[in-house]
């Protein structure tokens, strides 16, 4: 089983297809981390998808067939380690425990698996070492 975080961008006219149901029927387990969808506007959704590599690939094919653009959120794209001074300000606002201080070395540690992509850390980082993930998407 693999786990992947996907960013979906819906065209404005696309709100009728029950895509979540379709993905579930294809055998994927889904966790909606963020969603902003309304008729006539571009919709955005961040999904955490769990399934076999094969099922995930099929799910992505299905979504692309629906004119939905997809970004895959991977590790290492969010925090710029060379700018990070390990102060810990971001840990104050991280709701999921993805950003924590190692209480031995007092270095900042980031666990992408726990990250819910809320983005609160971006503005809380005094060193501006965490960039908006939408800016750095592949």
């Amino acid at each position: 089983m693999s786990k992947m975080k996907l960013g979906l961008l819906f065209p404005p006219e696309h709100t009728e297809e029950p895509i979540i149901t379709k993905l579930v029927k294809q055998g994927l387990s889904l966790n909606i981390l963020k969603a902003s969808i309304s008729q006539g506007n571009k919709g955005k959704m961040i999904l955490e998808v769990t399934g076999t590599d094969d099922d995930i690939a099929k799910g992505i094919d299905y979504l692309e067939g629906q004119d939905i653009s997809i970004k895959v959120y991977t590790n290492s794209v969010i925090r710029y380690e060379e700018k990070c001074m390990h102060c810990g300000a971001c840990t104050a606002v991280c709701p999921s425990g993805a950003l924590v201080m190692n209480t031995g070395s007092w270095e900042l540690e980031f666990d992408m698996d726990k990250c819910v992509l809320c983005g609160h850390c971006i503005s809380a980082c005094p060193a501006r070492a965490i960039k908006n993930f939408e800016e750095v998407l592949r």
Binding site: M85, C87, A89, A92, M101, W106, S123, P126, A127, R128
Partner: protein
């Protein structure tokens, strides 16, 4: 068995001095006791790396031909003070740039200068008979300047209140983002590594004390602004120190980008993270007793930063050990804690200073005068709109 600073300096020069970081000294004192440590250890290195808003740099540009008496001055679009002599200025860390606002401010200019980056200077003047120039725009780097020294009116806070927010709305403060309903607590003191918590009676730190400032050589210049020297004894015999501060000075040209960082606190402003290391000579057993105090016996108050008043109510007294544990119990609620100053960097500075003393590269200075010990902090009695 008392030791003088000159005796310790002799040992440093002979390569015989025993130098511990503040954390190492705390650990050794817990094992072997204060008396034994006082005999064995000569110097303890304390350090901090935190946001210090009251910081800035004095710069001298040299004269153009024809010369100009710079009035309105900007460096990379950040205003610098034009009220000094013709080509002198002071750039303050918190000054925002005209176009990028708090995302690029005086702190960033100082950081860029230290990193050797090119800075754009723009200055205008009305022109005088002796200074006929009216406008200059040029690019310069740190090495082009005659003098460039950091002069910070208030650094190295001995102790600072931890922050929480008891209101029901999120607050963006100089203590970071504070979640509503006491959703978090932030704190910004390096605890058992903090220089002024290690010499709380100012017995060895004085005017002229040589320090490590942003990786380069610096000095204690004076009492810091808003210094408060108040200590209260708790029921268990521990001391709770208020907040003495230091004014420090040091040459930008010897500083390292690793120990300085320009920063932006969202919704608040630009600030400068300053790295400072202070050597504390173990002159006697009493000095060692202060140096041996650990995070479990150093305290601060948690205050409600949701309320805008100069006399915030203390919600709870907590030790730095509690703050560093990751959560603090407030009225039955477990509140998450987060540091704002970098303990990782502070530790690095303490180790670097230790190395410089061991190698004989860093010799301690005898203060030329003591710092005022009874500093009081007065408010401003005026109506505010």
């Amino acid at each position: 068995m008392a030791k003088t600073i000159s005796e310790i300096n002799e040992k440093i020069k002979q390569g015989k001095a025993v130098v511990f970081t503040a954390e190492q000294a705390v650990a050794m004192a817990a094992e072997q006791g204060v008396a034994e440590c006082a005999k064995k250890i000569d110097v303890v290195t304390a350090a901090t790396f935190g946001a210090m808003c009251s910081s800035g740099a004095m710069l001298n540009f040299g004269h153009t031909d024809p010369p100009i008496r710079m009035g309105e001055i900007t460096l990379n679009d950040v205003s610098a003070y034009g009220g000094l002599a013709a080509v002198d200025t002071y750039i303050g860390a918190t000054q925002p740039s005209k176009h990028k606002g708090i995302e690029y401010g005086g702190a960033h200019v100082i950081e860029d200068l230290i990193a050797g980056k090119e800075i754009e200077l723009h200055a205008t003047s009305d022109g005088t008979d002796c200074y006929t120039g009216e406008e200059v725009r040029t690019k310069l780097t740190l090495s082009d300047l005659n003098q460039a020294y950091m002069f910070n009116p208030r650094n190295a806070y001995q102790n600072y209140s931890a922050a929480t927010n008891a209101t029901d709305t999120l607050k963006r403060t100089y203590m970071g983002t504070l979640l509503p309903n006491m959703g978090n607590i932030t704190y910004s003191t390096s605890g058992e590594m903090s220089p002024l918590l290690k010499d709380p009676k100012l017995r060895t730190i004085g005017i002229g004390t040589k320090i490590l400032l942003c990786g380069g050589e610096g000095y204690v210049a004076f009492e810091g602004t808003q210094a408060v020297n108040k200590a209260s004894e708790l029921d268990n015999g521990d001391m709770h120190y208020a907040g003495y501060t230091l004014s420090v000075i040091g040459d930008l040209k010897g500083m390292s980008s690793e120990y300085i960082k320009a920063a932006t606190f969202e919704g608040y402003g630009t600030t400068l993270y300053v790295g400072m290391g202070v050597p504390i000579p173990v002159i006697d057993e009493d000095m060692m007793a202060d140096l041996a105090v650990d995070n479990a016996h150093l305290y601060t108050h948690v205050q409600d930063y949701g309320v805008s008043t100069s006399a915030r109510e203390n919600i709870k007294r907590v030790s730095y050990a509690q703050l560093r544990s990751g959560q603090v119990d407030i009225g039955g609620k477990k509140v998450k804690t987060a540091p704002l100053s970098s303990l990782f960097k502070a530790r690095k500075i303490a180790v670097e200073l230790q190395g410089k003393i061991l190698s004989g590269e860093f010799i301690m200075t005898q203060p030329v005068a003591t710092l005022p010990y009874n500093a009081q902090f007065k408010g401003l009695n005026a109506e505010v709109k």
